[in-house]
Every structure is written in structure tokens, then in C-alpha cells.
Amino acid sequence: MLLFLLILIVAAIAQSFLPWWIVAPISLLLAAGLGRTGGRSFLAGFAGVGLGWAAVATWLNVQNDGLLAHRVAQLLPLGGSSWALVLVTATVGGLVGGMAALAGCWLRHAALGNRNRVGESATV
């Protein structure tokens, strides 16, 4: 939960003045520090970045009455559904966040060898 919240907040702040891909190193580093299992790290990264993207996209979509998203959703094509596009947006962001967090967590595991395995299973 902590990892998820940290990714959500740090990524949101960083993205307001840095390129979007900053979510990858952020998720990776935070998960390398705090991730317990690969699966949980992936979920935290996926949700941390994905929910952030979903929230902002939802807000902008509502503010724009879905006008632009409706057009883009015909271009992609998603049948013109702006909400499907919000979902795709969240998934794209989530995948990057999740994969990066997974990589971060596994890199730490690899670096630390077996030492954490016991503690890891205890906290699952």
C-alpha cells in the first residue's frame, strides 16, 4: 500500500514538469527500495501510475465534455468511446509503471541473493 501511494504521488508530481517516461525510473527505484514480491510490486506500479493517469484523464475528459477523446477514440479505433480511451490510457501508463516496479523489485532480489526470501514469505 505504501509503495502504491508513493508511486502515485511521486510520479504525479514528477510528471507535471518532466516527460511522461519519468514514471519508469520512479517506479523502478521505489520498488527496488520498498517492493516485497514481484507480484505486489507490479500491482503497486500498475495502480500507482495507472490510477494517476486515469484520474487526470477522467478530469480532463469531463472538463472537455469528451469532445476530443471521442474523436481520438475513433482514430485509434475504439468505437468513439471516450471512456474506453480513459481505460486504455490508464492501462498504458499502468503497464509501464508495473513493469518498472517489477524490474526494480527483482533487481533488488537478485542483488541481495537469498537473504530476504524468508522475511518476504512471512509478510506476504
Binding site: L60, V92, V96, L102, W106
Partner: protein
């Protein structure tokens, strides 16, 4: 070890995924960058806060405060205190709404599309480079910048655009930059020139010289004189017949003995679009309800979004003008001020010719002209290609102009001949800007003619009306002084007698002021009957039907109001059908038809020739007529001949249909049987009904004209979802309401002159170029239904007007 593998694999996947989502792959946008709601396209959706009703905006370089008021269609009404600030603000606000569009068109014109799209646009780029649009733009710009007034306008307009570009960040780039993944570049006056050269290309960049030379080579002068005459049977020219000359003509160069051009072995891929045209007309005070003139204009161009035109009011000391501008070029191009109104339509005077060249040897470094070898100028074009090394292309220039293609390759436009130099007014320097600077400030007929004198290309029919009750029209621009039929066929590039040898003096361009009939008009037809005008202009113009229909109605019009002119702009009567359909029906025996075919036949019999959206008559007639013309001409002038030629004109086809039933051209020379006109008429009627049945099912309301025509307004980059498809509209090619499949009235305007000028207008789009704005397409419905909006025209910066919704102050 396995852990390391797993971890590194995850890392690799992450890096690859991030890279892929940050990179444009082919036509696929960089999805991560594009979809990110922090930087990507979501930021482009316009929200209520994006357009404040009041604001002070600091812009670098403004000299004094500028007031801008926006009406309910988001049209800016700019009140500046000097020319510099006026055009600076016009540039700034136009860029704010239309930056991507204007920047994109300059890339097309300059042959720089591959730079942003990729190698698939390389051939387009090579074509535009070889057409020399940048070459012409530089020449025109040099001339314009030598004029201090125009220099101020062009530099301040560019500064305004750059002020907007400099205010952008990657998250505020217009939508299309994000989709195509590139960044705006600084604007410069050359780009303004490129915009006008592109417009001139669109309107004058096509030519039939090669097609006609091939026909001449194959069939000889007698046939060509018969089938491609210099003046049509049915015509209603811009300058009314019998208008006396008010000038003493200059001598015309003598015609040389004659030249037989080589066949050009090109194979056609598509025909040039003949449907870019326009209407304009003005009635005098004697015909109007108020006693003051009325003026209307609707230029027909490709129906695109963002819209071709940008509505603006420009006011500063000495000027208060309103109308539409072309994004990327300063001034109002079509509009009105308190005293005058003006508009333009294209004139099809022949301003593009081809010269067959003789080179010394295969190195093509010298060409024969005037009895000696002259050097070929070689210009190396460096074309940037996205993701690939630059490509170099050498373009050869003679004194005539560029050689558009110098080796066998697939030409971009099929009628562009090989090994010929192009002579084109679009490469001549002229100060078109000064024309519009002066027109915007004109107060009477003298000001208008003074403005026209510096105009070059594209040649246009400039229509005019003023509050002193003058009306006038001038087909105007740089028009080469030609011997008869010069440039109808490919010209001899070795003999100076074939060169263009000067211009028709500007004051002797065709013109008429206050004709007795009480109106002036143009619809791309012949400028003048050769009986009435001393100079050869062209052998072929736009078909006469629109112009004649306009004149027919204007002649009957009395007590005209702005609404009378609006209704005329929306006239759907098809004169070609009125002329030809009775003849076609007479050629087909209904007894030979099936019951279903008879239904279609009966529909045509009772059809009133109106191309209304829900009528089925035009659907059948258009298919029938066009297929019949194809059956008559295709065997003799189509691809089967192995030569690139063109069909005779519609007027000549109609003369054949009406008066020459035994013409040698009717028989299909490809079949052993001897076809009669009745055979072809029946076959083409069956072709029409069969194909419509296949497309729409049995005859019924589904055969409605709007369904068959299917008018589309497409985004400039043809993005699905960003246009408006299958509009329910009538009209069509050759109809006053010239709304065809992809072309149509790109701006409809009606101006009522008088003590208080009042104008009406609409264009099929909206002021904003942002597809995420409600103002992107808000005028389409008004346009579709043939209505006009009253145009807000403010006399002073503070005048109260309930339709003004926002007021900004721009300061340094």
C-alpha cells in the same frame, strides 16, 4: 543466476516498452507520450477556463495596447493603434487558433513533408520542389520586402506568430504536433509567401498542354479545331458581350509558323480536379431594395478542417475591415469595410505553359535557345527524411523555368510532361500583399483599381461594390501577352518567338464597371468573348452552367435583399440536365426497359432538374451522362489509345449529343459492331440503373442525391473521426451551390452596402483549428442548411454589441 536473468529480462522489457511508447513507429504515434494526461493529447481538450472573458495578455514587441473583442463565434475583432500592432496581433491570434494548419501547408508547399511524416512523402516533396514553389516564394518575397509598408506587415505578422510559438511548451503544442510527434519551428515571412504560392498552385497549377499536343499529333489540326475549339457554343462570359473597350490595345507578338511537339509517353493515373471554382456576383442599386449595391462571394475549395478561412476584423488608424483571411497570410482576403466590399473567384486564363527542350548531350548541362547553347542552372535540393539520411535531388532550371521531371519516373501529377521546362506566373515576382493592403483600405472604385494593379498570381476575378453605388469586376493578375493559341499546346523551347514576351498591361486586363444590365458576376467561365477582347487568354475555362444560371436569375432580380443573394448562392438547378436530359430521354425507348428501369426513367421524366439532397433524378442523370460521355470518347481519347489525352469539353460533348447524331466519334472503334448514339444512350442508362441497384438496392428513396454524392469534410491529415462525413446536402459540380463530394463553398458571404454596411457569412467549419474545441466545427450546420450568420462589425473598440462575449487587452 536465474534471478539475475529474470530481473534483467524485466528491466529490458521495461526499457523496450518505454522506448516503444515514446517513439513514433511508422504511422503509429508514440502512445505513452501521446496518451499521457500530463503532457499528451488530453491537454488539448478545451475547457471553460481556457478562454477567459476578460484578460490582460503581455506580448513582447507590442508598441501600444491592443483591444481584442471576441464574438459568439470566437471571431476576433482587433483594434490596434498602428499597423505594426495590428498585423502582429493578427499573426498572434491566427496562430493561437490555426498554428498547425498554417505550418503544415508551408511544409507541403516547400516540399518538406518527409521531414515530419517520413519517406512515404518523398515523392510529394520532390514534386513540390521541382514545381519551384519556394523559388517563386523567394522572388515574390524579395519584391514585397522592398516595399516598406509591406515589410512592416510581414515582419510584424511573423513576430506575432512567433510570440505564440514561443509561449508553447510540449504539453500545450497543438494536437496534431503531438499525434505526428514533432515540434513547431519559428515562423518567417517566407512562409507567408509559401502560403500564397500554394494557393496559386491549387488554382493555376494544372495544365492540359501535353494532352492536347498528343491529340494534335494523333488526329491533326482539323480534328483538334473541331473538338477543342477556342470558344464554346454556349457561354455567358464574365465581361458581358458587347462591352466596349476603353483602352487602345498594344500590339500582340506575331505567331511563329508552327511547332510539332513530340509525343509525351506518360500514362495517366488521375485527372486534375476541375471542380475548384467559385461564384461571385454584385447587383447595382437599381436592382436592390435599398438603392445600394449588394455583393456576394463563395469560393469553392476542398472542404477541409481546420477550415481554409479564418474570420477576422482588423481595425487601426486608416483601416477597419472585416471578412476572411488565409491562415498564414496577413490581411483580409475576401471582405468589406464601411465603404466597399470585394470578393474573388478563380480565372482560368492560361498562365502555365510547357517548353520542349533540346539538350546538347545527355549530361543536360546546356540547352539550345535563340541559336546558341545556354547553360542549365542546377539547383540541389536537400530533402530531410524523418528517421533516414537526407536525400539530394538536382532540379534543372532554364530561363523558361524549372524542368519538373528530367528522367523517367512516376510523375506525381500525370499531365506533367517529361523533358519540358515550365513557364508559370507563380514564379514571377509580384506584390500581392500590397493589393490586399490597399483593398482593405479602399474607399472607392479608384482605390480598388489601384490595388489590383500590383497583383500577380493566382489570377482572380475581383468583384467590387461600394457605397457610392459603383459595381465592377476585373479578371486580374499577371496575364502573359500571347499570340492566339500560344500555350494551348507544348511550345518550342529553342525558339524565342515561343517565349512569353511581356504582359497584358494591368489597365487592359478584362474589366467592366456599372454595366447596363445592372449586375456583374463570375463563376470561372470565360473572361470575355474573343470578339470583345483583343488578347488571347485561354481556349478553355470552367463550364458555363453556373455562370449562366447566376446571370439568368440576376437578370430577373428586382428589389433584391441580402436574402435574395443568399438564396441564389444555394440555387440547385442543374443547367446541364435542363439542356441534355430531354435529348437523352428521347434516345431511349421506355418499352425496351424492365419495369424497374422504367421507374427510374419515369423519375427522370418528371424531374425538375434541381439537385436537391433528397431528389433521385440527379443520382441517375449524373451517372448516366458521365457514362455516356465516357462511351463516346474513351475509345478515341482514353487510356486505350496508349496516349495521355483528354476528352473534349462538356460543351463540345453536348453539341455532339444535340446536333451530330452521326458523328464519327460515336462508334466504339474497339468493337466490330457499329454503335449508334441510341445504343450508347441505352447502354449507359442501363449501366447507371444497374450500378445504383447494386449500390443501394431497388429504386427508392435510398437513391437520394445526397447519398450518392456523399459530401465529406475531412481533416487536413484525413484523420478518421476528425471530419464530418456524408453530409445531407444538395448541389454539386456545375451547380451554383457547388457542393460536390469533396469541394464546395468554403466561405459564403453577402454584403449589403449602404450608410451602415451589413454583412452575412458562414464557412463549413469553425474559427478554432483545435479538434478539442467546440469552435472547431460549430458553423457546419448553419452552412449545411444554407443559412448565413449576420457578421459582427464593430465601428469602434468600445461599441456595445450583445454578441461580443470576451474582451482582451494585449500589452507589451
Amino acid at each position: 543466476m536465474i534471478r539475475w536473468l529474470k530481473a534483467l529480462l524485466a528491466l529490458l522489457v521495461t526499457v523496450a516498452l518505454t522506448w516503444a511508447l515514446n517513439t513514433r513507429l511508422g504511422a503509429v504515434p508514440p502512445f505513452g507520450k501521446f496518451l499521457s494526461p500530463f503532457r499528451g493529447f488530453w491537454r488539448n481538450g478545451e475547457t471553460a477556463n481556457d478562454f477567459p472573458a476578460q484578460q490582460n495578455l503581455a506580448l513582447p514587441g507590442l508598441q501600444q495596447p491592443v483591444q481584442v473583442r471576441f464574438d459568439d463565434q470566437r471571431v476576433p475583432h482587433i483594434f490596434a493603434q498602428n499597423d505594426h500592432d495590428l498585423y502582429y496581433t493578427q499573426g498572434y491570434l491566427t496562430a493561437r487558433d490555426r498554428l498547425w494548419q498554417m505550418d503544415f501547408i508551408t511544409h507541403v508547399a516547400a516540399g518538406r513533408l518527409a521531414e515530419i511524416i517520413g519517406k512515404e512523402r518523398l515523392e510529394t516533396d520532390r514534386f513540390f520542389r521541382r514545381m519551384g514553389l519556394t523559388y517563386g516564394a523567394r522572388k515574390s518575397l524579395d519584391k514585397a520586402m522592398a516595399d516598406p509598408t509591406v515589410r512592416t506587415v510581414l515582419t510584424s505578422y511573423s513576430d506575432g506568430i512567433n510570440a505564440y510559438i514561443n509561449s508553447l511548451t510540449p504539453s500545450t503544442y497543438p494536437f496534431e504536433y503531438k499525434l505526428l510527434d514533432y515540434a513547431p519551428e519559428p515562423w518567417e515571412p517566407l512562409k507567408c509567401a509559401l502560403i500564397l504560392k500554394y494557393m496559386a498552385f491549387d488554382l493555376t497549377g494544372r495544365s492540359d498542354d501535353l494532352r492536347l499536343s498528343n491529340a494534335l499529333g494523333k488526329y491533326g489540326p482539323e480534328v483538334v479545331r473541331d473538338l477543342f475549339p477556342d470558344y464554346p457554343m454556349r457561354e455567358d462570359p464574365v465581361i458581358p458581350e458587347g462591352t466596349p473597350l476603353d483602352f487602345k490595345p498594344v500590339p500582340v507578338p506575331a505567331a511563329p509558323a508552327g511547332f510539332e511537339a513530340d509525343y509525351s509517353p506518360l500514362v495517366p493515373q488521375n485527372q486534375p480536379d476541375p471542380e475548384l471554382g467559385s461564384n461571385n456576383f454584385a447587383v447595382s442599386g437599381t436592382k436592390s431594395a435599398t438603392g445600394y449595391p449588394l455583393l456576394a462571394n463563395d469560393p469553392h475549395l476542398q472542404l477541409n478542417l481546420p477550415s481554409i478561412w479564418y474570420q477576422t476584423q482588423l481595425a487601426a488608424p486608416g483601416v477597419n475591415v472585416c471578412g476572411v483571411a488565409i491562415p498564414g497570410a496577413p490581411f483580409i482576403i475576401i471582405g468589406f469595410n464601411e465603404q466597399v466590399a470585394w470578393g474573388v473567384t478563380n480565372t482560368y486564363a492560361d498562365v502555365l505553359d510547357w517548353y520542349q527542350l533540346k539538350f546538347k548531350d545527355n549530361t543536360r548541362r546546356e540547352y539550345w535557345h535563340d541559336g546558341r547553347w545556354k547553360p542549365v542552372r542546377r539547383v540541389v535540393e536537400r530533402i530531410k527524411v524523418r528517421g533516414l539520411p537526407d536525400r539530394l535531388d538536382t532540379v534543372l532550371y532554364t530561363h523558361h523555368g524549372p524542368i519538373v521531371y528530367d528522367h523517367n519516373e512516376k510523375p506525381f501529377l500525370p499531365q506533367t510532361p517529361i523533358l519540358h521546362a515550365m513557364r508559370w506566373t507563380n514564379h514571377d515576382a509580384a506584390n500581392e500583399y500590397l493589393t490586399f493592403y490597399r483593398l482593405n483600405r479602399a474607399r472607392n472604385y479608384q482605390d480598388y483599381t489601384a490595388a489590383l494593379a500590383t497583383y500577380g498570381a493566382p489570377a482572380q476575378n475581383f468583384i467590387f461594390a461600394d457605397s457610392q453605388k459603383d459595381i465592377a469586376i476585373w479578371p486580374n493578375g499577371l496575364l502573359p501577352l500571347k499570340w492566339k493559341e500560344q500555350g494551348k499546346f507544348i511550345l518550342d523551347g529553342t525558339n524565342p518567338a515561343y517565349d512569353w514576351q511581356g504582359w497584358i498591361p494591368a489597365a487592359q486586363n478584362p474589366h467592366v464597371k456599372n454595366p447596363p444590365r445592372g449586375f456583374v458576376s463570375s463563376a470561372n467561365q470565360f473572361s470575355a468573348n474573343p470578339k470583345d477582347y483583343p488578347y488571347y487568354l485561354n481556349w478553355n475555362y470552367g463550364d458555363y452552367e453556373r455562370g449562366h444560371r447566376i446571370n439568368e436569375r440576376l437578370a430577373r432580380m428586382n428589389h433584391a435583399t441580402p436574402d435574395s443573394l443568399r438564396v441564389l448562392q444555394n440555387d440547385n438547378l442543374g443547367l446541364n440536365a435542363r439542356l441534355i436530359l430531354p435529348r437523352l430521354l428521347g434516345l431511349v425507348q421506355p418499352t425496351q426497359l424492365s419495369a424497374a428501369q422504367q421507374q427510374a426513367y419515369n423519375t427522370l421524366q418528371s424531374w425538375n432538374f434541381y439537385y436537391d439532397a433528397h431528389a433521385t433524378g440527379p443520382t441517375i442523370f449524373e451517372l448516366w451522362y458521365n457514362n455516356l460521355a465516357k462511351r463516346i470518347w474513351d475509345d478515341d481519347f482514353g487510356k486505350a489509345t496508349g496516349l495521355e489525352m483528354r476528352y473534349p469539353t462538356r460543351d463540345r460533348t453536348n453539341t455532339l449529343l444535340l446536333q451530330e447524331p452521326n458523328s464519327q466519334w460515336i462508334d466504339d472503334s474497339r468493337t466490330p459492331a457499329k454503335e449508334t448514339l441510341a445504343d450508347l444512350a441505352r447502354q449507359s442508362f442501363l449501366f447507371a440503373t444497374d450500378s445504383l441497384t447494386r449500390k443501394f438496392g431497388p429504386f427508392g428513396p435510398k437513391w437520394a442525391w445526397a447519398n450518392q454524392k456523399s459530401t465529406d469534410i475531412l481533416h487536413l491529415a484525413q484523420l478518421p473521426g476528425f471530419g464530418h462525413m456524408d453530409l445531407d446536402v444538395g448541389g454539386g459540380a456545375g451547380i451554383v451551390n457547388a457542393t460536390s463530394e469533396r469541394n464546395g463553398p468554403s466561405w459564403r458571404m453577402v454584403v449589403a452596402l449602404g450608410p451602415q454596411v451589413q454583412a452575412y457569412g458562414v464557412f463549413p467549419g469553425g474559427e478554432s483549428g483545435n479538434p478539442g474545441s467546440p469552435f472547431y466545427d460549430d458553423m457546419i450546420e448553419t452552412w449545411r442548411t444554407g443559412q448565413l450568420h449576420p457578421l459582427v462589425f464593430l465601428r469602434t473598440a468600445d461599441e456595445k454589441n450583445p454578441r461580443v462575449k470576451a474582451a482582451w487587452v494585449l500589452t507589451h
